[in-house]
Amino acid sequence: MSERMALNILDNPRHLARLITMIERQDPARIEVLKALHDKTGKAHVVGITGPPGSGKSTLTDKIIGELRNRGRRVAVVAIDPSSPFTGGAILGDRIRMMRHATDEGVFIRSLASRGHLGGLSRAAAETVRALDAAAYDTVIIETVGVGQSEIDIVRCADTVVLVAVPGLGDDIQAIKAGVMEIGDIFCVNKADRDGAERVVRETRAMMETAIMNGANTRFSGLYKAVYEHTVQQARLRGENVQEDPHGGALRIPPVLLTIAEQGEGVSVLVDEILAHHAMLSDTEWLLKHRHENTMWELRNAVADNLLGWLDNANAHSQLANAAEAVLHKDTDYYQALAQVQEGIIAAGLRLVSD
């Protein structure tokens, strides 16, 4: 079944949709299918789009889809919305902005609810991206609201991260939160039809310049240095002169673009920048470096999740209970108990089948 399903998802979107449902549910049966698809993954350009609620991410995504389709690319979208913490239900409202693509064979859109799973959300998202990648979509866009850490973890795994800001969110500088800025590759100030957009652009630029001066650990600086070296090297090979940059590209900041998503204004430039970013990654082998880091990160998280999951099972529970009792009865001190429990857990953890 899973082999056949893996083969089928290429030409039958229904199977793809089904696989994503299995992923959403973290159904163990998905693993066989994803294994079978592994060789087909790695080709898609994964683009993350994040920003505050209502900043126009979905509208922008809709227009980006249109632009990429005009350029002949097949596009998939994973749109993530929060579940209600009270009822567990969700209204998945992103797709409505993209309905005009519903009958386009080259577009696949899937809405995911964050559901209860904490770390599980980024795992489900990453697996969904791999499934869409295997299904030969050239670009896979992930839209999430830039609020919680888990949403940010999701987009940081993308090759290219677009951060969306809007004017008029009160304290404008907060439009792009500290801690989020570092993961942006392209900055997009949407709703440029509203007052104050230019100011947000200026402030975003200033904020990045300050961050660089302070030696912040941004995603873009390393890439820009590599791009600079690459350019210099290429020029030398061609025997041309290049204008020397004493900072070696280290002071370059990412593009900050103005868009009016509703009218599609600025979207073509945005798409140019998205594709240019991808080209820079490929030219410099930072694409592989990124993906290597992301895969490590994902593996690490999976191990952590599995261990945490295991800690909640009955066996671990009784070990923890015994150790706690020993501490309280002064049979052992706290640190000795910890060492013992850890040994037991690590031994058991090593035996865990990878899930």
Binding site: R14, Q26, G89, A90, I91, L92, M99, A102, S111, A113
Partner: protein, 133 residues
């Protein structure tokens, strides 16, 4: 493994009366379902493709323009073409009783006319899912 009922709430046809559809969408969410709402003026093709990609368990359509006899069966036809017989399809809106048998014969599981409590619709969905959630 967390399993949720996923519902597409769709408005086929040209009428703009979405009060009912929106109230129902909210009620579904409050009953713990995951709801995807299509917005107004959707063609049967758009509805069925969205249902397919979203892999929903239920398609709930609302129509008040009187075009149900044309549009509901068309949605069923497209679902069948795509082998989506396991999706539960329900309809609501201003639909005369005498049209209901025909719509049911076309495959709509139930028609909810004005005045139906959202609770009734939610119960119906829970009891009639074609695939286990």
């Amino acid at each position: 493994m967390e399993q949720k009922i996923r519902v597409l709430v769709a408005k086929p046809g040209l009428d703009g009366h979405d009060r009912g559809a929106k109230v129902v969408a909210r009620a579904f969410r409050d009953a713990g379902m995951e709801v995807i709402y299509t917005g107004l003026r959707q063609t049967p093709e758009q509805i069925v493709n969205a249902a397919l990609q979203e892999d929903v368990d239920v398609v709930a359509m609302s129509i008040l323009s009187g075009a149900h006899n044309h549009l509901f069966p068309r949605v069923m036809e497209l679902l069948r073409e795509k082998n989506m017989d396991d999706v539960l399809v329900i309809g609501g809106g201003v639909i005369p009783d005498e049209d209901i048998p025909g719509l049911k014969a076309a495959g709509i599981a139930e028609i909810f006319t004005p005045g139906t409590a959202t609770g009734t619709t939610i119960e119906f969905i829970k009891n009639n899912l074609k695939r286990k959630a």
